[in-house]
């Protein structure tokens, strides 16, 4: 039992790496561009299907397919932002949501048109990587693929963090996020900074999609579920915090993995429940921060209760 728990815990942490990669792009867009791309999951699937085609139809090595696909998807992100997202952002809060939901539907149906509805996988193309692992003491098995995915996740999050902190582009992206008009006044090309962020976000989604196709299957309609996982990881980790996104991914992965110990069906449900619990906790914390700290909130609650009993009006 204890071994099972430890195994599930480790698998959950490693699974969290996958969630962190798909969430990183979303986190970047939400945190610094203030744009929510609801087609993020569909972009991941597109990246996976393109890689599968390059590998299985054109016969390229998987790694080469990925290296070819990533810049293509980055370019797609750049163009999407230039022609679509930028305009949508000018239209208030609702328009980006409508536009990207529409984009997601269009992408799903376009992929269905091109690739059909078959489930596809890269599992057969990566050889022993798909099933090999290291055996740890206590009967714990460490899958090679999940370990690689997790390491990539750490590199991706660390790289993004360094890019934002240390590079000219990163500082321009952060300045634009803080005050777009003032940034432009300083000569920053805000539109370019946003397009670059969108390119990175879409490329990262596509990378996550490839890992999904390696460990499982994808269909043209797999995107929305992945979007939800990405969102959950972002929210659990805290909006706009990249390091938080990695932790959010791990929390989600561990929750699902431990939930899977109860029953196979409880796995996803546990992840969602943990997400909802964190969301409620965050909302409550923010509410009390706005009302003078959690203890002040507690005092206010008590006062309200006492007040009700004494039918006083104090708060």
């Amino acid at each position: 039992m204890l071994d099972g728990t430890a195994q599930a815990l480790i698998q959950g942490v490693l699974l969290g790496g996958y969630y962190a990669i798909i969430a990183a792009g979303l986190s970047l867009m939400v945190g610094v561009v203030r744009f929510i791309n609801l087609a993020h999951g569909d972009m991941a699937v597109l990246g996976a299907l393109v890689t599968i085609t390059l590998t299985q139809v054109l016969g390229m090595p998987v790694l080469l397919s990925i290296l070819l696909m990533l810049p293509l998807m980055g370019l797609l992100g750049w163009v999407m932002h230039a022609v679509l997202f930028e305009r949508a952002m000018k239209g208030g809060l609702l328009l980006p949501i409508l536009v990207t939901i529409g984009l997601g539907a269009a992408l799903q149906n376009a992929m269905f048109g091109i690739w059909g509805s078959d489930t596809r996988s890269l599992g057969a193309d990566i050889g022993s990587l798909a099933w090999e692992g290291w055996f740890l003491p206590g009967g714990i098995i460490l899958g090679k693929l999940p370990v690689i995915v997790f390491c990539v996740a750490v590199l991706v999050i660390g790289g993004l963090h360094l890019m934002l902190r240390r590079t000219k582009l990163g500082r321009a992206i952060r300045a634009t996020a803080s005050d777009r008009e003032a940034a432009e006044m300083c000569g920053v090309d805000a539109a370019r900074a946003h397009r670059a962020a969108a390119a990175i976000a879409v490329a990262l989604a596509a990378l996550a999609g490839v890992f999904l196709a390696m460990r499982a299957q994808v269909t043209p309609y797999s995107g929305p579920a992945q979007l939800i996982f990405a969102f959950e990881a972002v929210v659990i980790g805290g909006l706009g915090s990249l390091g938080g996104t990695l932790i959010g991914g791990i929390v989600l992965g561990v929750s699902q993995s431990l939930g899977g110990l109860i029953s196979a069906q409880a796995s996803l449900l546990t992840g969602h429940l943990v997400f909802v619990a964190v969301l409620i906790w965050r909302l409550g914390r923010d509410w009390s921060a706005d009302h003078g700290g959690w203890h002040a909130g507690l005092v206010a609650q008590l006062a309200r209760r006492v007040g009700r009993r004494e039918s006083g009006a104090e708060q």
């Binding site: 000219k168 500082r171 321009a172 952060r174 300045a175 996020a177 803080s178 005050d179 008009e181 003032a182 940034a183 432009e184 006044m185 300083c186 000569g187 920053v188 090309d189 805000a190």
Partner: protein, 258 residues
């Protein structure tokens, strides 16, 4: 219009001979039925320091926005040197050499003080990697912010934020700097430092346009004064003569000349 009436031989300085570096003609900016700018023509010559005064709502800050490209104007033209920049973006104008500060500081929160200036120094790629960092450091030293270089901007006070506005503008290596009420709220000593800084910029040949309510600070630096009211230029010319102008006294100082 009293544009040229205010100009007398006594106000002729060496700058008068130089061509206008920044020139606006017939600027109109409408917000609905309100005319924030109502036919403003304004020019500043290379190396000149011009002050702008006027009651609240006179359109001073709107004029800055129009010059710096923060928004499109309804009609009118803006020229910089010998090119028309009416339809250029704020970013393009910044790269051409026009910098502006905000009356209410707008620092990039989440960046350090140094990074705020570095963003400006790096944008446009006119400075190499080291050049930009050196420029940012020297600008911080000049504006008295060197000690705060690595402090997050969110943690600095109003005065330092005002300094940072100037530092960030200088980071873009401007030819023309538009200063919007940077003297407000300073102590006498700090005001002195500020005047010394602006005087220093002027001595280096920078063109300065300064909106300020603190007249004695303004008068120490400027060559020429423009008074605006209700979206129009009321008077311009020699600072003392503008201050004596009857219309100016009525509109700005709220008193009729005796």
């Amino acid at each position: 219009m009293m544009h040229d009436k205010g100009m007398t031989p006594s106000s002729q300085t060496r700058a008068d001979c130089a061509p206008a570096v920044l020139e606006a003609t017939g600027l109109v900016k409408r917000y609905g039925s309100l005319r924030a700018l109502d036919g403003v023509s304004f020019r500043v010559r290379r190396g000149e320091a011009v002050g702008i005064i006027g009651p609240n709502g006179a359109g001073k800050t709107t004029l800055f926005g129009a010059l710096a490209g923060s928004f499109p104007v309804s009609t009118g033209d803006v020229r910089f040197g010998d090119r028309t920049i009416t339809h250029e973006s704020a970013e393009a104008r910044s790269r051409l050499g026009i910098a502006r500060t905000y009356q209410v500081p707008r620092p990039f929160l989440g960046l350090t003080v140094f990074e705020n200036v570095l963003v400006a120094a790096q944008a446009g790629g006119r400075n190499g990697r080291d050049g930009a960092a050196d420029l940012a450091a020297s600008v911080l030293g000049r504006t008295g912010l060197a000690g705060l270089a690595n402090t997050p901007t969110a943690a600095i006070g109003l005065l330092d934020r005002k300094r940072l506005e100037v530092a960030r503008a200088l980071g873009t290596k401007p030819q023309v700097i538009l200063l919007d009420e940077i003297g407000g709220g300073l102590t006498e000593g700090e005001l002195h430092e500020l005047i010394a800084l602006i005087d220093g910029l002027k001595a280096e040949g920078m063109t300065i346009v300064w909106i300020e309510h603190i007249l004695h600070a303004l008068l120490k630096v400027i060559d020429r004064l423009v008074c605006m009211a209700e979206g129009q230029v009321l008077a311009e010319g020699d600072p003392r003569e503008v201050m004596e102008n009857a219309k100016v006294r009525r509109a700005y100082l709220g008193s009729d000349p005796e």
